[in-house]
Symmetry: C2
Subunit: 195 residues, 2 copies
């Protein structure tokens, strides 16, 4: 049975992650400050480091939630389209990916912005990305029945990375000059040619 | 004629950009501190803000140099391969892009990491990216002679973004699980299918 102290600690962890999510959504992960989080959660700055190893661990927890929400958005795009052609399902999921990234840009960027080279990536983190890839793997396997599992895995990652790059630079259209309303068009052209 | 004060200011600017390049190469743009640059360049912290509007302007100047070096690496990959098939030229340039990104990861990331949404992107910055795209535009125009200029422009950006995404997640293989030695294979498979 959890002790009262453990319950309080768990409660504080949840408060801190919820507060960090709001701050990352608005200002990005790089701007996260322990002092602000302590104010948000109504605790002392020192209490944060009792609940989490460091700020990065809080960002990773927020990323865990973001992966959940992103996966749900991607799967939701297939509802009612389960029997569509595999390329069409890939396009639907990619557009859902674009929509999620556009609506939650800073939370989404934080997923791939795990900066510190020395930070160890937790096993659950890689699994969350695997879950995301698993959605793509089904139509890809239908499209390339002759490919060995290892080659399918690479194809899934190549497709995901291509769409990710288009979404990333498309949303940075101040730099790339890609008109935002052309991103879906580019995704569908690339996926139709690739598959 | 430039006054002595102007020459001194220009000299300081060059020193600061050279120092920032070394620091960004090692620690990334986010870790850049005015105090460190002042030490490197042997000037007062205040003198930095006399030479540049802010730290971001120094990062942008470093990015200008990086664009030059990247463009040179990409063009160099075509030397002796001018008559190769357009898809093969795209693959050569993409591998040069990968090589540059792998060898200069933090400088390369800084190019696309122009964070502050409020920062205005200077015109020369967009032109530098256009110059990079121009290298890709030639083989793409050969591959799609039927496409209108506007569609060619989108195709160039879609191809660049796809390769960029593969390089980005490939170099973040701790997260993506893409074996680094498979990045070239993924690039060549994607480009062969896309073109």
């Amino acid at each position: 049975m959890a002790s009262k102290a453990e319950i309080r600690k768990q409660d504080l962890r949840e408060k801190l992650v919820a507060a960090a999510e709001i701050r990352i959504r608005t200002d990005g992960a790089a701007a996260l400050r322990a002092r602000d989080l302590a104010t948000d959660a109504g605790c002392a700055v020192g209490a944060i480091y009792n609940a989490f190893e460091d700020l990065n661990a809080i960002v990773m927890s927020v990323n865990g939630r973001t992966f959940q929400a992103l996966g749900q958005a991607v799967r939701q795009s297939l509802v009612g389209a389960e029997t569509a052609a595999p390329t069409d399902r890939l396009i639907l999921m990619s557009n859902a990916y674009l929509g999620f990234a556009a609506d939650n840009t800073r939370l989404w960027r934080a997923l791939f912005d795990v900066r510190a080279q020395e930070t160890e990536i937790p096993e659950w983190y890689r699994e969350a990305l695997e879950d995301l890839f698993a959605n793509i793997a089904t139509p890809v396997a239908e499209l390339f029945p002759e490919k060995a599992p290892q080659d399918l895995m690479l194809m899934v990652r190549a497709l995901f990375s291509s769409v990710h790059g288009i979404v990333l630079l498309g949303l940075e259209n101040r730099i790339s000059g890609v008109p935002t309303d052309q991103i879906e068009h580019m995704i569908s052209e690339v996926l139709s040619r690739l598959t």
